[in-house]
C-alpha cells in the first residue's frame, strides 16, 4: 500500500506542472488568437459590436442621440411625471448634466472599447500571414473605426487620452489628455491610411465600411477643422453611392445598407442574436399600449419612453412642401396626447416587443453632398449650389432648387438643409458647436421653453428648473466621466464641471 502510494506520489510529482496548467475551455487565451484570417475576420466583427451601445441599445437607453440631438434645438423629451426615475436622462438636454452622467460615460466608454479592440488588431495583424488584400481590408476597417471613435471623442470632450497601442502593463493604462490638435492629426493619418487600404463599396461586403466611409470621415474632420480644400478633396473621392428615390425608404429596416449608406450601425431583431435596437420604443410617447402605433405588437407599455421628441421649432422649420417632414416626424393623438410628435424616422414597429430592427445611419450620401456643398461654399466655389440642390431639390423632397449664390446666405441654407435632411441623426449639436452658434441658439431655445413649457411637452404646472439652459462656452464640451477623473490623476476635468 505504502509503496503504491509512494510510486503514485512520484508520478504525480513529476507531472505536477501539467497538473497545474488549467487553460480556460470556454474562451480562447489571447496568446492563441490573432493569428489567422478567420481570427481577424471575427475580431473585426467584434470591433463593430460596441457601436450598438454607442448609438443606443436597451430601454430608456443613453445612446448617442441624447448628446447629438437632445442637447440641440432639434429635440427634447416628454416630461415623464409618473416615473421620475429616468430624470438623469434629461440633464443633457437641460444643460444641467455633470460628470456622473450615464449618457456621457456611455459615449466615452464605448468609443474607447472600440479603440482598444482596434489597437489589438493593428498591433497583431502585421505578424499574421494571410491574403494581403484581405489583411488590408481588415486593417483599413480597424483604422477607420479608431479614427471615427477619436473623432467622436474629440468633438464631445476636447483633449482626450490618445492610446494607439494595447497596454501591456497596469502602469501603461493611465494616460494624460492629448491636446486636440494632436488627436486630430492622428485621426487624419488613420482615416487617410484607412481610405487607401479599404476597398471600394462595390468590392466590400455590405455592412462593413468601404473606402467611401473613410473619405466621408476625412471630409467631416476637415470641415470641423475648417480645412475646406482638404475636405473637398476627400469628399470628391467618394464614388459608388447614390440617393434613394424615396426619403423614407433610406431608414426602412427592410432596406438596410442601401445605396445611399456609407456607414450604419447594424442591429438585428432576431431574438437569439440579442442585438436588437429599441429606438422605436424609446422615441415614441409613453403609451400604455404601444400597439396603437402601426407595426407594434399590443401590450408592453413603454413607460420609460418619450425621448428625442421633435421640438415645435424643428417641426416648423420644414417647408410646407417638404415630403421629408412626413417621413421624419409622426404625430400621435390619444391616451391624453394631442398631436404629440415623435421621431418617426426611427419608428418602424417591432415583431416582438421591445426589439426593433432599425439600423442607425452614421454617414449617408446625402450628407456627403451637403458636406461637399459646405466645403465648396466656404471656398466660394459656385459648385456649392449644385451640391446643395442635389439634396434639397432631389425629387424625393418635392422642393424646388435654391437659387441664391451669396456665400453667407448659402452658408445658412446649407446648415438648415443639414438640420432637415439629417434630423435625428446626431448631427445637429456638433453642427451648432462647429459653426459657433450653439450658445446663442440654445440660450434662445431655453428661453422659449421656459416661457411656454407646455408647448415643449411639460404637463400643466410643471416647468424646467430655473438652472436649466444656462448655456455658456464651457457647455460646448461635456465633462470627462467621474470614474476616469478618480482613477487617473493625470486627467483634469473640463472647465465648468
Amino acid at each position: 500500500m505504502k509503496l503504491k502510494a509512494l510510486i503514485l506520489f512520484a508520478i504525480l510529482s513529476s507531472c505536477k506542472n501539467d497538473f497545474l496548467d488549467k487553460a480556460p475551455e470556454t474562451v480562447v487565451p489571447a496568446a492563441e488568437f490573432y493569428k489567422t484570417e478567420s481570427d481577424f475576420q471575427q475580431a473585426i466583427v467584434g470591433l463593430y459590436n460596441p457601436l450598438r451601445a454607442l448609438y443606443g441599445t436597451g430601454l430608456a437607453d443613453v445612446g448617442a442621440w441624447a448628446m447629438g440631438e437632445m442637447r440641440s434645438d432639434n429635440t427634447t423629451f416628454s416630461f415623464n411625471a409618473a416615473n421620475r426615475g429616468y430624470a438623469d436622462r434629461e440633464y443633457v438636454d437641460l444643460f444641467t448634466d455633470d460628470a456622473n452622467s450615464g449618457t456621457t460615460s456611455n459615449k466615452y466608454n464605448s468609443n474607447y472599447i472600440i479603440i482598444g479592440r482596434a489597437n489589438q488588431v493593428l498591433k497583431t495583424i502585421d505578424a499574421a500571414t494571410f491574403d494581403e488584400k484581405q489583411k488590408n481590408n481588415f486593417k483599413g476597417q480597424a483604422l477607420f473605426l479608431r479614427a471615427f471613435c477619436y473623432f467622436d471623442l474629440v468633438q464631445y470632450f476636447g483633449d482626450v487620452p490618445l492610446a494607439l497601442e494595447p497596454a501591456t502593463s497596469f502602469e501603461q493604462t493611465a494616460l494624460p489628455r492629448t491636446p486636440r490638435e494632436d488627436v486630430y492629426k492622428q485621426i487624419i493619418a488613420d482615416a487617410t491610411l484607412a481610405a487607401s487600404l479599404l476597398p471600394a463599396a462595390s468590392a466590400q461586403t455590405k455592412g462593413y465600411v468601404a473606402n467611401g466611409a473613410a473619405y466621408a470621415l476625412l471630409g467631416n474632420v476637415h470641415l470641423v477643422l475648417k480645412q475646406w480644400e482638404n475636405a473637398e478633396s476627400a469628399l470628391t473621392k467618394i464614388t459608388g453611392y447614390s440617393l434613394l428615390p424615396d426619403y423614407a425608404s433610406v431608414f426602412d429596416p427592410n432596406n438596410k445598407n442601401n445605396a445611399e449608406s456609407l456607414f450604419e450601425v447594424q442591429y438585428l431583431d432576431e431574438p437569439t442574436a440579442a442585438a436588437a435596437s429599441n429606438f422605436g420604443y424609446n422615441f415614441l410617447p409613453i403609451l400604455a399600449d404601444p400597439g396603437v402605433i402601426s407595426g407594434f405588437p399590443s401590450g408592453n407599455s413603454n413607460s420609460y419612453a418619450g425621448w428625442n421628441t421633435p421640438t415645435p421649432d424643428l417641426i416648423n422649420s420644414y417647408e410646407a412642401a417638404d415630403k421629408r417632414k412626413a417621413a421624419s416626424i409622426g404625430f400621435y393623438t390619444g391616451e391624453g396626447y394631442v398631436n404629440r410628435p415623435y421621431a418617426k424616422k426611427f419608428v418602424h414597429g417591432a415583431k416582438i416587443a421591445p426589439n426593433t430592427n432599425d439600423n442607425w445611419p452614421v454617414y449617408r450620401y446625402a450628407e456627403v453632398l451637403l458636406m461637399l456643398a459646405e466645403a465648396q461654399n466656404e471656398q466660394a466655389k459656385p459648385s456649392a449650389l449644385t451640391s446643395l440642390n442635389a439634396v434639397h431639390a432631389h425629387p424625393r423632397t418635392g422642393l424646388s432648387p435654391i437659387t441664391t449664390t451669396a456665400q453667407t446666405e448659402l452658408r445658412e441654407q446649407i446648415l438648415k438643409e443639414r438640420q432637415i435632411e439629417l434630423a435625428f441623426e446626431n448631427k445637429r449639436w456638433p453642427d451648432l458647436v462647429r459653426t459657433g452658434k450653439a450658445v446663442a441658439v440654445m440660450t434662445a431655445q431655453g428661453n422659449k421653453i421656459k416661457a411656454n413649457p407646455q408647448a415643449y411637452y411639460y404637463p400643466a404646472g410643471i416647468s424646467p428648473v430655473a438652472a436649466s439652459y444656462n448655456v455658456s462656452e464651457t457647455k460646448l464640451l461635456f465633462p470627462i466621466p467621474q470614474r476616469e477623473i478618480r482613477l487617473n490623476p493625470l486627467l483634469k476635468q473640463n472647465p465648468g464641471y
Partner: protein
C-alpha cells in the same frame, strides 16, 4: 486499493454474519447491575458511558443518569464522561452500583480538532475556538452557520436575508478583501469542500473548530487567510450502541418590529390629493375623500404569512468490536414567511470505521443530500429585478389584492401608484425552483507499521448537481410594466443546470514520540485537489401561452455553457513539541501550487510558528490560589487567499457577435489584459493570547490580540477605460487588520440551580495602507476606501434637511436646481456650491462594527434547562437605500407615514426631513445618495431562548431518555435601525453597508423532542 475495498467488504460480511449467529450468545454467568451516575454536584448525568473493562460491552446512562447492564461478578466497570475523570469500579458481586464522577482538574484535556489532526486544548498555541453539537441542538435553523451566531469571539455571522436556506455571511476577524472572497474555508472531516456548507444537515455535526490565527490555519496555505471552519461529523463512541430521535416543529412569524411603516389607504389618498393640489392639478375623483378608505391593503401582509418549520432526524450509532458505524438521517422543511417560498432538505450520513487489526484501520463516510427550494425574487431594488418585498410596499394601499368576490386581480393599476402587477398574484405565478443533490464522501486507510508512526491515505469526493427552473408568465409584470395576460410575448423561462465535483487525494505520515518529559508530534503530507464545474443556462421566449412552462414549449431558446476548473498541489509539514506539557512549541508549513495563478507565480510557501507557556504549572504560581490555570500564547505566520477567478491570469478572447445586415456574425474580442505574475494575497498575522482560569476553573477568561497585514491584494483594479478595459486583475495594495477578542465563561451558580454565562466580545479594526494606481481610492456604490482610512466607509453627500425658507435658501450653498423647500446638502469643500461628486461627498459612517459580541446564559434546575443566546454589533452604519423609494415625493409610490410631515410652505415646513412634492424638484432628494439615508445599525438580538425539560420515565426497555423543549429563535431584536434587518450590512468586501430591502427574518417558535432508544 481495489482489493482492499473488497477485502473490507468480505470482512464486513463475515462480521455481520458472525454477529447474527453469535450475537445473543451467553458465554459467562452474568448478573444484572444497575445504578446511577452523578456529577460532583450530585446531579444525575445522562449520557455517561459504562463499559465492562476488557470487552466492548457497554451502555449509556439515560436521562436520569441511570444505567443497567449485565456483567460477571468479577468484572470491572469503566465509567466515563467527557470533561470528567474516568473511574474504574470492580463489581465485586454487587448488583447496584452508584458512581460519582469528578470534574477533570483541567477541562483542558478536551481534545480539539485542528488542521490535519487533533490536539489537547492545553497544548493549543494558536487561536482556536470550538463548539460542540450539544450547544447547537435546540436552535431551529436550517444552516450550521446560523446556529453559531453569538457563540464565537471574533467571528461575525450575519443573516443578511431571511430567504430560507440562504443568506449567511461569515467573517473571521473582520476579514475583507477588495475583490477576492472573504468567506472562510470550510473543512468537513478533513476535506476542504467546494460545495455549499448550507446543504449539510447540522444534526450530523459532532463539533466545530474555528481556526483564527495564522499558526492554526497555515496548513491550509493559500486558502487560509479568511479563517478556517473545521466541521467534524458524528462517529460512534467505543462500546456504545444508541438510537436517538430528535424532532421539532414550529411556526415562523414576522414581528411588528422591522415592518415598513407605510401609509394606509386613507393616508395615501390624502397624500395623493395634496400632491395634486401642490402641483396645481385637479384632484382625481378617487382622492377627493381620503377618509372613505380606511386601512386598505397592507401589502407587506398580503405577500407574507405565518409559516411552518420542521426538522426530524434519526441517528444510529454503534461501535462494537472492530466495527463502528454512525448513521444520521434527516429531513428539514422550512416554509418561508414570504408566500411561495420554501426550502427542504433530505440528508443521510453514514460514517463507518473498521479496525482491520491493531495496525490497520479503514473508514468510509458518505453523505448524500437533496435540497429543494422555491425562491421568489424577494430581495433588491424594484427596478433591477421585480423584487417583490420592495415593489409590494410601494404599491397603493387602495388597490385590492383580492376582490370582494374572491377573484384575484392581475394588476394594481389605477389606484394612484405606478402601474404594477398584483404582488399577491405575482409571487405565486412566477416559478423559481432549484433542486440540488450532493454527495460528500471519503474513504481512508490508516496504517501503523511501527508503533506511533501512522500513515494515512484518503480520497475525498464532493459532488454536486443542480437544476433550476424559472417561468415568468404573461400574468406577471414589474413596476411600470403591469401584466397583460393576452400578451404572450411577455412570457419567458429559463433552465439552468450545473454539475460540480471536486476530489482530494491526501497522504500524511505522522509520528508521535515521548522521551521522558519531551513530547514530539510530527506530521508530513502531500495532497492534490481538483475541482471542476460545468454549468449551462438556457433562456426561452416565444411561448404561445402560460400552459406549458417548460422550455420545450418555447419557440426561441438561447443558451450558454461554462466550464470552470482548478487544481492545487500541496505539501504540508508540522512539528509540535512540548516539555512537561508546560513549554509548547509548534511550527508548520504548507507549500501550495495552484492553477489559478500566473506561470511566474505558481508556487508559494506558508509557514508559521507558535509557542505556549503554561505559567500556572510553574512553582512560583502555586501560591496564587485563585488562579487555577494560566497559559500564554504567541504565534506568527503567513497565509494566503486565492479566491480569484480560475482563469483571471489569462487575457481571454470572448465571443462578441454582431449582426451585419440581417445576419448575426461570429465575432471575438479581447476581454482583458493578461497577468502572468498573478498570485495569491499574502497575509502575515501575529497573535498574542492568554487563557486564565480562576477559582478552580469556575471563571475562565481568554484574550487574543491579533494584527495582520495583507499585501499583494488580489484585486480587479479599475483602470482608465482609455486602455480599452475597465479593470485589470492584479496583486496590488496593502491592508492592515487588528483587533482584540475577549471570551469569558463563568459558572455563576452550581448546585441545584446552576447558571453558566458565556460571553464574547471582539473589536476589529482595519485600515488601507496602499491601494491601486497612485493609491487612487476605491469607490463602491456608496462607499470609499482610501489610504490611511478604514475600508469601505460610507461616502455620500452630507444631508442638512431642507431649505426651510427664503432666508435659509439665500444664505446656504446650493446646487443648480435648488429651491426653497427642496433637499439641502452641505457644501463640504466650501466652494459655495453643492455638487454631487467628490467635491462635496464625505465619509458619513463605517459599515464595519466597532464591536461584535455574543452572550449565552444557561440555567439548569432539576429537570429543567434554559438557555438564552444573544448577539449584537455596535458602531456600524447602514445606508437604507430602499428609503429612496419609500420616501419618493412624486406620488408615484406609497410612502412611509413620515412623509406626511414634509415641507409644504415656509409657514408649514414640516419636521424638516422631507422636501416639497412639487414636480421636477424632487429627484435630488431621492437620487443623490446622502447621509439622510444613513442610520446607526447597532443591535442586540436575542437569537434564541430554549426551555427544556427532561421527562422522568419509569425504567423501561424502550426509551432511555426523553427531553422536550420549547424554543424561540430570533426572539427579540433591539435596534434603532428603521430598516427591516440590522444584520443586512455584512455583504462582502469593501462595499458593504447598503440595505436594498431583503426577505424579512422571522421569529420562530418551536416545540421539540429528543429521545434515546
Amino acid at each position: 486499493m481495489k482489493t482492499n475495498i473488497y477485502g473490507t467488504y468480505n470482512w464486513f460480511l463475515t462480521l455481520v454474519i458472525g454477529l447474527i449467529m453469535f450475537g445473543g450468545g451467553d458465554l459467562l454467568a452474568q448478573t444484572q447491575i444497575s445504578g446511577t451516575i452523578r456529577d460532583e454536584k450530585n446531579t444525575p448525568m445522562p449520557g455517561a458511558t459504562i463499559t465492562v473493562k476488557g470487552t466492548t460491552h457497554g451502555v449509556s446512562t439515560d436521562a436520569n443518569g441511570a444505567f443497567s447492564l449485565s456483567a460477571s461478578a468479577d468484572a470491572i466497570l469503566s465509567v466515563s464522561f467527557i470533561g470528567y475523570s474516568p473511574k474504574e469500579i470492580p463489581v465485586e458481586g454487587r448488583t447496584k452500583i452508584d458512581v460519582q464522577l469528578e470534574v477533570l482538574s483541567q477541562t483542558l484535556s478536551d481534545v480539539i480538532v485542528v488542521a490535519y489532526g487533533s490536539q489537547s486544548k492545553r497544548n493549543i498555541t494558536g487561536a482556536v475556538q470550538t463548539i460542540n453539537q450539544k450547544e447547537l441542538n435546540d436552535l431551529p435553523a436550517a444552516q450550521l452557520t446560523q446556529k453559531l451566531q453569538g457563540k464565537m469571539a471574533g467571528v461575525q455571522i450575519n443573516q443578511t436575508t431571511g430567504i430560507p436556506g440562504q443568506g449567511m455571511s461569515v467573517r473571521v476577524r473582520g476579514q475583507a478583501s477588495i475583490s477576492a472572497g472573504s468567506d472562510p474555508l470550510y473543512v468537513v472531516d478533513g476535506f476542504p469542500i467546494t460545495g455549499n456548507i448550507a446543504n449539510i444537515n447540522p444534526d450530523e455535526i459532532e463539533n466545530i473548530s474555528v481556526l483564527k490565527d495564522a499558526s492554526s490555519t497555515s496548513l491550509y496555505g493559500s486558502r487560509a487567510a479568511n479563517g478556517v471552519v473545521i466541521v467534524t461529523t458524528k462517529r460512534a463512541k467505543a462500546g456504545t450502541s444508541t438510537i436517538s430521535v430528535s424532532a421539532y416543529t414550529g411556526i415562523q412569524q414576522l414581528p411588528e418590529k422591522g415592518r415598513p411603516d407605510m401609509m394606509n389607504a386613507s393616508e395615501f389618498a390624502q397624500f395623493k390629493k395634496e400632491v395634486a393640489l401642490e402641483n396645481g392639478q385637479t384632484v382625481p375623483d378617487m382622492f377627493q375623500n381620503p377618509q372613505q378608505y380606511g386601512a386598505g391593503t397592507n401589502w407587506y401582509d398580503a405577500v407574507t404569512r405565518q409559516a411552518t418549520i420542521q426538522n426530524y432526524s434519526v441517528s444510529f450509532n454503534s461501535s462494537k468490536d472492530k466495527f463502528s458505524t454512525s448513521v444520521v438521517a434527516g429531513y428539514f422543511k422550512q416554509n418561508g414567511v414570504l408566500l411561495n417560498s420554501d426550502y427542504s432538505r433530505y440528508s443521510l450520513r453514514i460514517n463507518t470505521d473498521y479496525k482491520f487489526n491493531d495496525r490497520v484501520k479503514i473508514g468510509f463516510n458518505a453523505a448524500p443530500t437533496f435540497t429543494d427550494n422555491h425562491t421568489p425574487q424577494s430581495d433588491g431594488i424594484w427596478y433591477n429585478t421585480p423584487s417583490i418585498v420592495q415593489s409590494a410596499i410601494l404599491t397603493s394601499p387602495l388597490a385590492p389584492f383580492k376582490n370582494a368576490d374572491g377573484s384575484i386581480p392581475l394588476t394594481t393599476n389605477g389606484y394612484g401608484s405606478a402601474d404594477a402587477p398584483n404582488w399577491y398574484n405575482q409571487i405565486q405565478v412566477v416559478k423559481n425552483t432549484s433542486r440540488n443533490s450532493g454527495l460528500l464522501a471519503n474513504g481512508f486507510i490508516e496504517v501503523e507499521p511501527v508503533n506511533n508512526l501512522v500513515y494515512k491515505s484518503g480520497i475525498n469526493i464532493d459532488l454536486g448537481n443542480s437544476v433550476s427552473d424559472y417561468f415568468y408568465p404573461s400574468t406577471a409584470g414589474s413596476v411600470f410594466n403591469a401584466p397583460n395576460e393576452a400578451d404572450a410575448s411577455r412570457i419567458n423561462a429559463s433552465h439552468g443546470n450545473a454539475l460540480a465535483y471536486s476530489w482530494l487525494w491526501e497522504n500524511t505520515l505522522s509520528f508521535q514520540k515521548t522521551i521522558g518529559e519531551h513530547q514530539f508530534d510530527l506530521l508530513g503530507g502531500y495532497t492534490s485537489q481538483t475541482a471542476h464545474a460545468q454549468t449551462g443556462l438556457f433562456t426561452a421566449t416565444g411561448f404561445p401561452d402560460n400552459k406549458i412552462q417548460t422550455l420545450n414549449a418555447a419557440k426561441t431558446i438561447t443558451g450558454t455553457t461554462d466550464i470552470q476548473s482548478w487544481t492545487l498541489l500541496s505539501f504540508v509539514g508540522r512539528v509540535n513539541y512540548n516539555f512537561k506539557q508546560r513549554y509548547i512549541l509548534s511550527a508548520a508549513i504548507r507549500r501550495d501550487g495552484s492553477s489559478k495563478f500566473g506561470v511566474d507565480k505558481r508556487w508559494g510557501n506558508f509557514p508559521s510558528v507558535s509557542a505556549g507557556w503554561v505559567v500556572s504549572d510553574e512553582s512560583f504560581m502555586s501560591g496564587i490560589r485563585p488562579v487555577s490555570f494560566l497559559k500564554l500564547r504567541a504565534s506568527y505566520g503567513v497565509i494566503g487567499n486565492n479566491n480569484v477567478g480560475n482563469y483571471t491570469q489569462y487575457a481571454s478572447v470572448v465571443a462578441t457577435n454582431n449582426p451585419v445586415g440581417n445576419q448575426n456574425l461570429s465575432g471575438k474580442s479581447i476581454a482583458g489584459l493578461n497577468n502572468t505574475r498573478l498570485g495569491w494575497e499574502n497575509t502575515k498575522e501575529l497573535d498574542f493570547g492568554v487563557d486564565i482560569h480562576f477559582f478552580n476553573n469556575r471563571l475562565k477568561f481568554g484574550y487574543d490580540y491579533y494584527h495582520k497585514t495583507t499585501d499583494d491584494l488580489l484585486y480587479t483594479v479599475d483602470i482608465p477605460i482609455s486602455s480599452g478595459f475597465f479593470n485589470y486583475a492584479t496583486n496590488i495594495g496593502k491592508l492592515a487588520f487588528w483587533g482584540h477578542e475577549v471570551t469569558l465563561s463563568s459558572q455563576n451558580l452550581a448546585g441545584n440551580l446552576s447558571w453558566n454565562t458565556d460571553f464574547n466580545i471582539s473589536f476589529n479594526k482595519n485600515k488601507a495602507l496602499a491601494l491601486g494606481t497612485a493609491n487612487a481610492a476605491i469607490f463602491g456604490d456608496n462607499t470609499i476606501t482610501e489610504v490611511g482610512k478604514p475600508l469601505g466607509q460610507l461616502y455620500t453627500l452630507v444631508w442638512e434637511g431642507v431649505y426651510k425658507n427664503q432666508a435659509d435658501f439665500d444664505q446656504s450653498p446650493k446646487y443648480a436646481d435648488a429651491e426653497v423647500g427642496t433637499v439641502k446638502f452641505k457644501d463640504v469643500n466650501g466652494d459655495g456650491v453643492v455638487t454631487n461628486d467628490d467635491r462635496d461627498k464625505a465619509v458619513v459612517g463605517n459599515s464595519a462594527p466597532k464591536a461584535i459580541f455574543g452572550i449565552t446564559n444557561s440555567f439548569a434546575y432539576r429537570k429543567f434547562d434554559l438557555s438564552i443566546v444573544g448577539s449584537g454589533a455596535l458602531g456600524n452604519k447602514i445606508i437604507n437605500v430602499s428609503e429612496r423609494f419609500t420616501t419618493n415625493l412624486d406620488g408615484t409610490f406609497n410612502v412611509l407615514k413620515g412623509v406626511s410631515r414634509r415641507w409644504r410652505s415656509e409657514e408649514n415646513p414640516g419636521d424638516g426631513i422631507y422636501g416639497k412634492s412639487k414636480a421636477n424638484t424632487t429627484s435630488y432628494e431621492r437620487d443623490w445618495a446622502s447621509s439622510k439615508f444613513v442610520y446607526s445599525a447597532n443591535y442586540f438580538t436575542i437569537k434564541n431562548i430554549t426551555l427544556g425539560y427532561r421527562v422522568g420515565l419509569k425504567e423501561n426497555k424502550y426509551i432511555h431518555g426523553l427531553r422536550v423543549y420549547a424554543s424561540v429563535q430570533q426572539a427579540f431584536v433591539f435596534t434603532k435601525y428603521p430598516g427591516g434587518n440590522p444584520e443586512v450590512s455584512a455583504a462582502g468586501g469593501l462595499f458593504s453597508g447598503s440595505d436594498y430591502t431583503t426577505y424579512p427574518v422571522p421569529r420562530t417558535f418551536t416545540l421539540g423532542v429528543n429521545f434515546n432508544l
